[in-house]
Symmetry: C2
Subunit: 518 residues, 2 copies
Amino acid sequence: MTEAEAKGARRRARGAGGGAARRAARSAVSFETARFIERNIPNLEMLSQEALEIIEENAETILEEIGVAFVENPAALERWKQAGADVTGERVRIPRGLARQLCATAPARFTQIARNRARDVEIGGGSLVLAPVYGPPFVRDYQDGRRYATMADFEKLVKLGYMSEWLHHSGGTVCEPTDVPVNKRHFDMLYAHMSLSDKPFMGSVTDPSRARDSIEMAKILFGDAVVDAHCVMTSLININSPLTFDATMMGALEHYAAAGQACIISPFIVGGAMAPVSVMGTLTQVLAEVLAGVAYSQLIRPGAPVIMGAFVTSIDMNSGAPTFGTPEAAQITNGAGQLARRLGLPYRSGGGFTGSKLPDAQAAYESANTLNNALVSGVNFMLHACGWLEGGLVSSPEKFVMDADQLGALHKLAAGIPTDENAQAMDAIREVGPGGHYLGCAHTQANYQTAFWRTKLLDYKPFETWAEEGERSTYELATQRVAKMLGDYQQPALDPAVDEALKDYIARRKAEMPDAFI
Amino acid sequence: MTEAEAKGARRRARGAGGGAARRAARSAVSFETARFIERNIPNLEMLSQEALEIIEENAETILEEIGVAFVENPAALERWKQAGADVTGERVRIPRGLARQLCATAPARFTQIARNRARDVEIGGGSLVLAPVYGPPFVRDYQDGRRYATMADFEKLVKLGYMSEWLHHSGGTVCEPTDVPVNKRHFDMLYAHMSLSDKPFMGSVTDPSRARDSIEMAKILFGDAVVDAHCVMTSLININSPLTFDATMMGALEHYAAAGQACIISPFIVGGAMAPVSVMGTLTQVLAEVLAGVAYSQLIRPGAPVIMGAFVTSIDMNSGAPTFGTPEAAQITNGAGQLARRLGLPYRSGGGFTGSKLPDAQAAYESANTLNNALVSGVNFMLHACGWLEGGLVSSPEKFVMDADQLGALHKLAAGIPTDENAQAMDAIREVGPGGHYLGCAHTQANYQTAFWRTKLLDYKPFETWAEEGERSTYELATQRVAKMLGDYQQPALDPAVDEALKDYIARRKAEMPDAFI
């Protein structure tokens, strides 16, 4: 499709169907989703000022003396030369202070809008935006076990995300739909996020042309003016650690940054393999990589919204497998949060990470370790917040609803402790006195419905009831909850003309290319 | 047994068997246990200075205007009168500031010694001492399911505690041995801790006479002079919330405090039932109760070591069941830690709490939530750190080793982030450079063995291996680990004369009383 054809599609989408759009809106059921988290609790700061300064100093040394590689990307090398870097072959050595100076134009906080504007999210400052699992080629569910993921699985996960009240973001590649050709998947994935949900979403990054398609589809959905003026996608740009920026990811970043769309610029590190085995060493490399990546985004377009990412875990030195929910990962997440705040950038890390094959105790220990740590580390954008299993190889609907339930607890914890007179409850303590109980007192009656976070999944029943009901584990309870949420699901209203225009765009673009499965 | 007979038993224990004791010591295998945690990370402080002052002010108002009840304890009422409180019936109203003033003689940090002095623990300041589950009448294991606990279960759990490298303390009632008469259990439980482990332990509190027996047995084990000069037991004194101090628990406290032995003075609160539904209200009541209880301990013996306890959870307003691992419980744990530090007292809270019936994902989410939160809340003594299931009704060997494995991660996290030159790893980053990998580099070779915390339980194997090995869940893996630890168990050396004297004491005391099962 030419740019002119794409524009035509967008015009038709906006011009037509006003009445139908309004009818669709009236008949739609809206499911409640919590607003993104605004923390009312402090961050935990594990590293001293002095240690942070050492890291910053060493990161500048890396950039200046070792440099970073921008691979197969002559335009990037030229941009760096222009900016004052020393470029030799594909190696870019950045004078001390230059990268940090370039980063200064990136906003400390920005808004990503959703087509349901009540679901806009703000990313940065004290905010925390929760997005689901990203990337697994497999799915596992209680009924069918583990198998390659399909587009049907993808749609199911998007629906679960839409129905999850504590999830603010629809995410991106919630699983890889392996039944769709690699070069055409992004259309179907984006269409699913755009049509099955009205939460904010992510764009494709697996090829620069797919980033361009993502932007085109966003323009059909939101309109050109909206996309020009606002961030409507936050996409995941991984750095090929150590210190390497490949042309695919950088090509995608170039499209998004030029369009004013947000990128998470994220080292992808298994400590001991892609970074040193030490926390300080890894943090130093992370900072150097992020400084170079964010600076590059600002060379493309000063002011382009970016997020400092850190996907970091450690390696099991016995098996070589990546491990999750470990103390070292927690330390790196925490330290990187401190570095991001000093750099004045929004921060992405955390998630319901686990190496477990099953949504069992290992999965929950590891996920809860990560979720709790991410909250107090000041994470602003948490990808993989729910649904992740087996080191990211597997998406699981049951794990999705299990984690998503815990995200409600994070909301409550982040809200801090109310301290007003009602919260002080002195009247209740006076009313009840020594030896009494509070179940029936006026304060309890007035407050009990909102006093405590309530799970929609976990079992609090008496042993006897639980035994009669079949001694169900969390995995089994989650299966029921998945079925209930999918049963309750109703598609959010979408202007039929926009829907049609999206479908047209996809059909035409797909027709332009042969299927590719690598 | 008379005091004279008891003294005789202790004399005989110390006089005899020097050679046998030395032989026993030489032949014993010692299993490594980590030293108690000294935090090298900051605490998280959720409440503002202002909020803390409001709580402190309101707690004084409670003590002054509402007062606390010391039930069926005329001597306590007399002590309070002498100290300047207003006593009416069993109600003790404490003038503003008096309780806090009395608390000032309690030490901010103290040492509890173990018979293996390498296992002494320090409680207070930045320390964290980990002790196992306490109190369940049931046990559950993978093989046999849920059933009433017996003395055999108790011994198994003490052995697991001894073999757990991250557990510093043998605990107390690791389960209720329901096959032993209620009035004689404490002898067998104490003997198990004293003979099957060499870690520090807790005394009996279920009757004042049992506290006395605990002290007598400790004197046989350690010698009179040691018990007179040191804390050798830390025992759990629950307050009957709201605001009530019963004669049983206070009687036990009186014995321990008089003997210079430590007590955890701990409100036992299900929020919404025994305290207001609000966090601030609950914290206010907790502080009032602790102030009264600690002050009372100092009336018994100024300087007696005490720990401010807070066992607080919330109620499920649907079922009335207590809930665990909730955000409100985390907030209360955190706020109570701040209050304890302001009061200058060691702090007890946290544990591997869960309401789940099984050691499944619910159990692990809830436990990990509590463990992580307790660490950053500045907890000094964590009872129930491992082995707890079903809201404290059930001890589980599998859950014990699952939690105990996670305690290793807590150690690593608490140690903070090394920042020395080796940790900075600049040589490694220079050696590897862009696009390389760190697996074989000199820094990795030099550091990999200690770089990362390593689980002894969780599964990091490739999917195919895991599948071939039977797709085992954490529960199943834990069953294997329990069997391995019990198989490896070797009893620590105990002077045979001391052992004999303990057995004599128990036999004589048991013979003095009829069996009682209530």
